[in-house]
C-alpha cells in the first residue's frame, strides 16, 4: 500500500473518531466512559500511525511497512490504481441502480429486472442463456417467499397503485 493514500485514509478515521469523542462530551459519565475509552484510544493510535507514516514519507519511502501476514482475505489488485476505483464505482453503481429499482417497484420485480440487465450489459450473455438463468432466479425467489417467509421491501409504485406484491 502506498503511503500517501494510507495516511489520508487513517487521518480521516482519526478525524471521525475525534468527532465521535467530542459529540459525547455532554453525556453522563456512565454513558460516555466506554465511547471515550474506545474513541480516544483509537484516535491516539491513529495519530501515532499517521506520524510514523509521515516520517517514513519524509525519509523518502513510498510504501507502507507491514508484517506480510494477513488473516483477512486478500484483494489481489492495486488499490492505488485509478482503474480499481473506476471498477469499484461501476459495481457500486449497479448496486445503487438496484436500490433505485427496489424503491420504485419493490425488491421482487427490481431484482429480476436487475438480473436481466446485469447479465446482458455486464455479463454480455445471450438471451438463450439469460432466460433460463432468470427463470432459475425467479424459482429461488419463490423458494425464499414460500418456504422461508422472507419479508420484501415494497416499492412506492406498489403503494400508489395498491398492488400488495409490488
Amino acid at each position: 500500500m502506498k503511503l500517501v493514500p494510507s495516511i489520508i485514509y487513517t487521518a480521516v478515521i482519526v478525524l471521525l473518531t475525534a468527532l465521535a469523542v467530542f459529540y459525547a462530551k455532554d453525556w453522563p459519565f456512565q454513558a460516555r466512559a466506554f465511547p471515550w475509552l474506545a474513541g480516544i484510544t483509537t484516535a491516539t493510535l491513529g495519530l501515532l500511525l499517521v506520524v510514523t507514516d509521515i516520517r517514513r514519507l519524509a525519509m523518502g519511502h513510498r510504501l507502507e511497512v507491514t508484517s506480510g501476514q494477513q488473516a483477512d482475505i486478500e484483494s489481489g489488485y492495486d488499490m492505488a490504481a485509478w482503474s480499481t476505483y473506476k471498477k469499484f464505482a461501476r459495481v457500486f453503481g449497479w448496486i445503487l441502480v438496484l436500490y433505485a429499482g427496489i424503491w420504485l417497484v419493490g425488491l421482487r420485480v427490481a431484482v429480476v429486472a436487475f438480473f436481466i440487465a446485469y447479465l446482458r450489459l455486464e455479463g454480455r450473455l445471450r438471451w438463450f442463456l439469460i432466460v433460463p438463468l432468470t427463470a432459475l432466479m425467479v424459482l429461488f425467489l419463490v423458494y425464499f417467499d414460500q418456504l422461508l417467509a422472507v419479508h420484501w421491501p415494497r416499492g412506492i409504485m406498489g403503494q400508489w397503485l395498491g398492488i400488495k406484491w409490488l
Binding site: Y9, W27, A38, T66, S67, S75, Y77, F114
Partner: protein, 496 residues
C-alpha cells in the same frame, strides 16, 4: 457430564435438526469451493434467515457450514491452484503439483480423509476441554470476563492484520460502533443523531453482510473471479490417496494437534494452522526432496491442521466468549441472536447444547468429507461459473438478508454504508476480523465493566485472574508485535 454429552446427541438426532446440519454442510461446501467467499461470508449470508428457527437447529446449520469450508476449499487448490478460502493456501504447493502430474484424484481423496480425521480430532479436543475448563470458567466473574473480552479483541487485532496499529484501530472502531443505541446503565441513546432506526443500535447481521459479504462480492467482480478451466481427476486414485493417509496417521494426528492449538489462540485461525501443518510436514519428513513437487504429505498435513483448527477456535468462543477469528465472531453473533451467552451459561444451563455443537462438528466433518469424495467433480463445476452470473445472484441474497434485520429501509442504507467501510478497510489494510470482534464483544464488554465497577468498585482490578489476564495481554501484544516486525517488508505484492 456424560448425560449432557448424550443429551446433546439426542437433541441433534431429531430429523429436522439433522436436515439443517446437512443443509449447512451443503452450503458450506458451496461457499468453501468458490474462491473469495468462504465461511465468514457464508455465515453472513445465512444468519439473517435463521432468526426464527429453533436455536439448536440453527446452530447445527452454522456449525455444519463452518466446519466444512476447510474441506471443500481443497478442490480449487488442487485443481486450479486457487485457494477456496484463506485456510488452504499451503495445500496448493504440493496439491496442485500432484494435479499437474495427473494425480489430482489421489490428492483430493487424501485431503478429504485427512480433513475428516483432523476435524474429528478437533471436535474430540473440544469435548474434552469442557470438563477441564469448567471449574476455571465457573470461577470467573464479570471482571474476568471483561478482561477476557479485551484480551480476545487485542489478540485478534494484533495478529490478524498486516500492521498491529491498524488492527487495534479497527478493533477500537468496532467497540465504538457497538455503543450506538441505548446505553446499558443510564437512560440515554448514544450516536442515534435523531434517527429512530438507530435506537436499538446497529443490527449485528448488517455488520456481517456489509463489512464482509458485499465487499467480497464486489472484489470478485473487480478481479473477475473465479477463473477456472477444464480439469481432470483421474480414475481409481481415491483408494490410493486414502491408503497414503492411513500410512501417515502419526503425521495426520500431529498436525491435527498443532491445528487445534493454533485455532485456540485468538487471531491465528485456519490460515495459520494450514501453514503450520505444512511446515511441520516438511520438517518432520526424513526425505524432503519431494516437497514442492507433489509430495502427498504436503497435502495431508495442512488439511488435517486446518480442519482441526475449527475445533480449537470453538474452545475460547464457547467457553470464554472470546472468538478466535472473524467467522467465530459471527458464530458468536449467532449465539447472541438466540440469547445464548458464551461462558458460564454454555457449561451449565446450556451444556447439552454445547455438546450438540461438538456432535455437529464431528458429524459435519465426516459427512462433508464423504460428499466431497463422491462429488468432487460436480463441486468443482461451481468454480467455472462466471462471476457475472454469480454476482447479481449473491447481491440479491445479501440485500434480501439485510432487510430481514429490522424490515426497514434503514437496513438497506446501513448496508451500503457498511459496504463502503468494509471495502475500504480491506483495501487500506484495516483488519475486518478485528473490527467485527470489537463490535460483537463491545456491548458485552461494556456491561461486564459496569457490573464489575458496581459490585467491586475499582478493586476488581486487583483480582488475581484479572491481573493474570492483563499480564498475558501485554505479553501477547508485545510478543506479537516483535514477531511481526521480524517479518516486516514494504507492501508491493497482492493486497494493494
Amino acid at each position: 457430564m456424560l448425560e449432557a454429552l448424550l443429551e446433546g446427541f439426542i437433541q441433534l438426532a431429531e430429523p429436522f435438526r439433522l436436515a439443517m446440519l446437512g443443509l449447512g454442510v451443503l452450503i458450506g461446501l458451496a461457499v468453501g469451493i468458490i474462491p473469495g467467499i468462504g465461511g465468514t461470508v457464508g455465515f453472513a449470508l445465512v444468519l439473517p434467515f435463521l432468526m426464527h428457527f429453533d436455536p439448536t437447529a440453527a446452530i447445527a446449520m452454522l456449525i455444519g457450514l463452518v466446519a466444512i469450508t476447510t474441506t471443500s476449499d481443497t478442490i480449487t487448490c488442487v485443481l486450479f491452484a486457487i485457494p477456496g478460502t484463506g485456510g488452504s493456501v499451503a495445500t496448493i504447493i504440493d496439491g496442485h503439483a500432484m494435479a499437474r502430474k495427473g494425480e489430482a484424484g489421489e490428492a483430493l481423496a487424501a485431503a478429504f480423509l485427512a480433513s475428516a480425521i483432523g476435524g474429528v480430532f478437533g471436535a474430540v479436543i473440544l469435548a474434552m476441554s469442557i470438563p477441564v475448563a469448567r471449574p476455571l470458567v465457573l470461577q470467573f466473574g464479570s471482571p474476568e470476563f471483561f478482561m477476557l473480552s479485551i484480551l480476545g479483541i487485542s489478540m485478534v487485532a494484533v495478529l490478524s492484520g498486516r500492521r498491529p496499529l491498524k488492527g487495534l484501530m479497527a478493533a477500537g472502531l468496532g467497540l465504538l460502533l457497538a455503543t450506538v443505541g441505548g446505553a446499558p446503565t443510564v437512560c440515554i441513546f448514544r450516536y442515534y443523531f435523531g434517527i429512530p432506526y438507530l435506537y436499538d443500535g446497529i443490527p449485528l447481521v448488517l455488520i456481517a453482510l456489509g463489512v464482509f459479504a458485499l465487499p467480497e462480492i464486489i472484489d470478485l467482480v473487480i478481479r473477475k473471479m473465479p477463473v477456472a478451466g477444464a480439469f481432470r481427476l483421474g480414475k481409481g486414485a481415491a483408494m490410493t490417496g486414502m491408503r497414503h493417509v492411513l500410512k501417515e496417521i502419526p503425521l495426520v494426528l500431529r498436525c491435527a494437534g498443532l491445528g487445534t492449538y493454533i485455532g485456540f489462540v485468538p487471531g491465528m485461525g485456519t490460515s495459520v494452522a494450514n501453514w503450520i501443518g505444512y511446515g511441520h510436514s516438511v520438517q518432520s519428513a526424513k526425505d524432503k526432496s519431494g516437497f514442492g513437487h507433489g509430495d502427498i504429505r504436503g497435502v495431508i498435513g495442512p488439511e488435517s491442521a486446518n480442519n482441526a483448527a475449527r475445533g480449537g477456535e470453538l474452545i475460547p468462543t464457547l467457553l470464554f466468549g472470546v472468538p478466535g477469528s472473524g467467522s467465530m465472531a459471527l458464530f458468536l453473533m449467532g449465539l447472541m441472536m438466540f440469547n445464548l451467552r458464551p461462558g458460564t451459561d454454555m457449561i451449565t444451563v446450556h451444556l447439552p447444547l454445547t455438546f450438540t455443537i461438538v456432535w455437529s462438528l464431528l458429524i459435519a466433518n465426516v459427512v462433508g468429507a464423504v460428499i466431497c469424495m463422491f462429488l468432487a467433480r460436480q463441486l468443482a463445476w461451481f468454480t467455472t461459473i462466471p462471476i457475472h452470473v454469480l454476482a447479481p445472484f449473491l447481491m440479491m441474497v445479501v440485500i434480501t438478508a439485510a432487510f430481514q434485520a429490522s424490515r426497514d429501509w434503514g437496513d438497506l442504507i446501513l448496508l451500503l454504508l457498511l459496504t463502503l467501510v468494509g471495502w475500504s478497510f480491506k483495501q487500506f489494510g484495516f483488519s475486518r476480523p478485528a473490527f467485527i470482534v470489537g463490535f460483537v464483544l463491545g456491548g458485552i464488554a461494556e456491561v461486564y465493566l459496569w457490573i464489575s465497577v458496581q459490585r467491586y468498585g475499582m478493586a476488581w482490578l486487583l483480582h488475581p485472574w484479572v491481573i493474570g489476564i492483563i499480564l498475558l495481554m501485554i505479553a501477547s501484544v508485545i510478543v506479537s508485535i516483535i514477531w511481526q516486525r521480524k517479518g516486516q517488508h514494504p507492501v508491493d505484492e497482492g493486497g494493494g
